[in-house]
């Protein structure tokens, strides 16, 4: 949707600049820009960025140390992605409890403030019963105080939310970085076992669907998209079979395995062939 709006703009603006009178083109241009901005704003809000395409450098991937996922970030992540792990559920429950407690505390603080304000008003009323104007002023002051307390509470909540969101993002990144280092190892291991037939050419691609168990063992391989060259496809399949097991996946955090490596796709796309 965003894309179509942008292309519409680019197709119209040249004609506007070419025309003699600028009133209409400028109006149209402004209207379209407004449309684009609206579309962009709407698009950003409605479509969460869920697709990550990361192309790390090989060295970068190698340098990463793998951190086992700590229980706290796992809970934060839980809000978006459902991973059926009891630990995460407990963690989420704990956090929820904490939040309720916090809210209760805030409520108490508010109540106390309200009581204090009321008491003050009563005292003022007793001290200057006839001065109604003064009383009205006091009422106004009280309302202001109330508003201030409310605002403060809202700000605190917003801050807590932002903190949680940041935690979550950080964790997703950490996860991805950890996955990347495994991805590098997998690609390397397969590449070492991949012997292409002489009929293989650049531009041939073949996709294999792999299913693994947590020991790293490949339990099923199937060609999901062939290259049209039987010998080429077989060489890819054989590369996986020859390896048989990704031993380094055995000591991977289970959640990471479930998320990325239980089932994945291998795309064979040779770039190093002469022809």
């Amino acid at each position: 949707m965003t894309v179509s709006a942008v292309s519409a703009r680019s197709s119209i603006s040249p004609s506007a600049s070419a025309g003699g009178s600028y009133g209409w083109p400028i109006a149209i241009s402004l209207a379209l820009h407004a449309c684009v901005l609206a579309a962009v704003a709407w698009g950003w809000e409605s479509a969460p960025v869920d697709t990550h395409k990361v192309t790390p450098r090989y060295v970068e991937a190698k340098l990463v140390t793998m951190k086992p996922k700590s229980s706290k970030p796992a809970a934060a992540k839980k809000k978006v992605r459902t991973i059926d792990l009891a630990a995460k559920k407990r963690e989420q429950q704990r956090q929820k409890d904490q939040r309720i407690k916090k809210q209760r505390k805030q409520q108490q603080a508010k109540d106390a403030a309200a009581r204090k304000a009321k008491k003050l008003a009563q005292e003022q009323a007793i001290a200057a019963e006839e001065r109604l104007a003064a009383e009205r002023l006091a009422q106004k002051k009280l309302a202001e105080q109330q508003r201030e307390v409310d605002n403060k509470r809202q700000r605190q909540e917003a801050f807590a939310d932002a903190l949680a969101a940041e935690d979550e993002l950080l964790l997703a990144e950490q996860d991805e970085v950890a996955a990347q280092s495994y991805v590098a190892n997998i690609a390397q291991a397969i590449g070492r076992n991949w012997s292409r037939p002489p009929s293989a050419r650049r531009g041939m691609t073949c996709e294999l669907q792999l299913q693994l168990i947590p020991t790293g063992e490949v339990v099923s391989v199937s060609v999901s998209k062939g290259s049209g060259n039987g010998a080429f496809d077989r060489s890819a399949e054989q590369a996986v079979k020859k390896l048989g097991r990704f031993e380094f996946l055995a000591d991977m955090p289970p959640a990471l395995f479930e998320r990325y490596f239980r089932q994945f796709t291998l795309l064979f796309d040779p770039q190093d062939l002469r022809l």
């Binding site: 690609a187 590449g191 991949w194 002489p198 039987g230 080429f232 399949e237 590369a239 002469r274």
Partner: protein, 422 residues
């Protein structure tokens, strides 16, 4: 070995189980490990060991490393006796089993190819022939195995022509042999020089130059019947006949006009047509794959280089620029490479030039390499070279990965010509 991987991690939106795609962009291209188990045979001693012939065929292609018989843990003849695990431990990727039987006075070979890693049978075929065709049965199996695993048509069943000179050039022979050098057969013997044998595209005839009339003349000879026909009898040079891809014409060199020029000869009508007109030497013609042009060697630029002429327009274009000597070009069957004799550091080698990029790869490192002839599948080429002071034939793969010498003959061997598929 430097290995660089480009990795792409793709997560599809909104699913709990993330779809991960890992890209493999590099590999290692090793020869395929295959075990050709000695074939089952109930009869007496055979003239040929079929499994050994297949092993040799595959090894010579450079694409395979056959397992030695002594390293095999078992000699199964049928699927029930195959223990994939054993073969896998030996590093074998493919396993070829065969059974030879004598049925109705003919030898019948049934062969089965197993993929050891995927643990399944991938090929089963039966072929039969008489006693003289035992080697053909083996080459047939080699072709099928090669094609299935490499994706390239095998050329083990093809033949070659070559010239053999005996007794210090006292006797010349035109010879025919299998592509592996076995089963050689004499087609012609002469006390005068024989030169430049060339196959007709249908594999039935050969054209060559003979000096038997006292000066060079081009002859055509049918292989099966040995029936001969003299095609040219001009003054001067009559040489280098090469059949056009459709078999209707010959390209050849005549010097009847004063200096060597390329001509075509229409075989049905006997009409000669002059192709090149230049005061320099134009020689060693070879047809382009589509038959619409001829590549040839010319020194019109001062040094021998390869040129191409388009027959319809007569337009000449220079193809080689690297080095001060490039000659006797042949175009690979896919039309992508030009194979030629290339002088490099003062030594004559066989080199391949990429037609598109102009890049040259020197394929051989021996001295005085000449007369390259490409296999019909474009994977190998044969050439003449010197070994221990004697002319011999050698072969090299077009990627220079494998080289071997053909079995030594009694005389000086030269000018190999690899047969087409027929």
């Amino acid at each position: 070995m430097r290995v660089v991987f480009i990795l792409v991690l793709l997560l599809t939106a909104g699913v709990t189980r993330a779809e991960l795609t890992i890209e493999i962009t590099q590999g290692v291209d090793n020869p395929t490990a295959i075990a050709v188990v000695p074939f089952g045979w109930q009869g007496g001693a055979l003239a040929e060991d079929l499994a050994a012939i297949i092993s040799q065929d595959l090894r010579r292609s450079g694409q395979f490393s056959p397992l030695a018989n002594k390293d095999m843990l078992a000699f199964p003849h049928q699927q029930a006796d195959v223990y994939y695990r054993d073969w896998r431990i030996l590093g074998t990727e493919f396993l070829l089993l065969g059974n030879l039987e004598f049925v109705d006075e003919r030898y019948q070979l049934t062969f089965e190819l197993y993929d050891v890693l995927l643990q399944k049978k991938v090929l089963r075929q039966t072929v039969d022939g008489d006693e003289a065709q035992l080697r053909d049965l083996a080459h047939f199996a080699s072709d099928k195995v090669y094609e299935l695993i490499t994706g390239i048509r095998g050329a083990f069943s093809t033949q070659m022509l070559y010239i053999e000179a005996l007794g210090g050039n006292k006797l010349y022979r035109l010879m025919l042999a299998d592509a592996d050098g076995a089963r050689e057969k004499m087609l012609l013997e002469s006390k005068q020089p024989l030169m430049s044998p060339s196959w007709s595209p249908d594999g039935t005839s050969v054209a060559y130059v003979s000096f038997e009339t006292g000066r060079p003349a081009i002859f055509r000879q049918e292989i099966a019947t040995a029936e001969r026909q003299q095609l040219t009898n001009f003054r001067g040079l009559n040489g280098a006949p090469v059949w056009s891809p459709d078999g209707t014409q010959l390209a050849l060199v005549l010097s009847k006009d004063g200096n060597p020029e390329i001509y075509t000869l229409d075989l049905a009508s006997g009409v000669f047509k002059r192709v090149t007109k230049h005061f320099a030497i134009d020689t060693e013609p070879s047809w382009t794959i589509d038959g619409k042009g001829i590549v040839f060697t010319s020194d019109r630029g001062g040094k021998p280089q390869i040129y191409q002429v388009t027959l319809a327009s007569g337009r000449v274009e220079r193809l080689t620029f690297e080095g001060d000597y490039n000659a006797r070009a042949r175009i690979s069957p896919d039309g992508k490479s030009l194979v030629m004799v290339h002088r490099y550091n003062g030594v004559f080698h066989i080199a391949a030039q990429d037609m598109a990029s102009g890049d040259i790869r020197v394929l051989t490192e021996t001295h005085l390499d000449e007369s390259p002839s490409i296999a019909p599948n474009g994977a190998m080429l044969m050439y003449a070279t010197k070994y221990q002071g004697k002319g011999i034939l050698a072969a090299v793969s077009l990627d220079a990965g494998v080289k071997f010498r053909l079995p030594s003959k009694s005389g000086d061997v030269r000018e190999p010509s690899w047969s087409p598929y027929y």
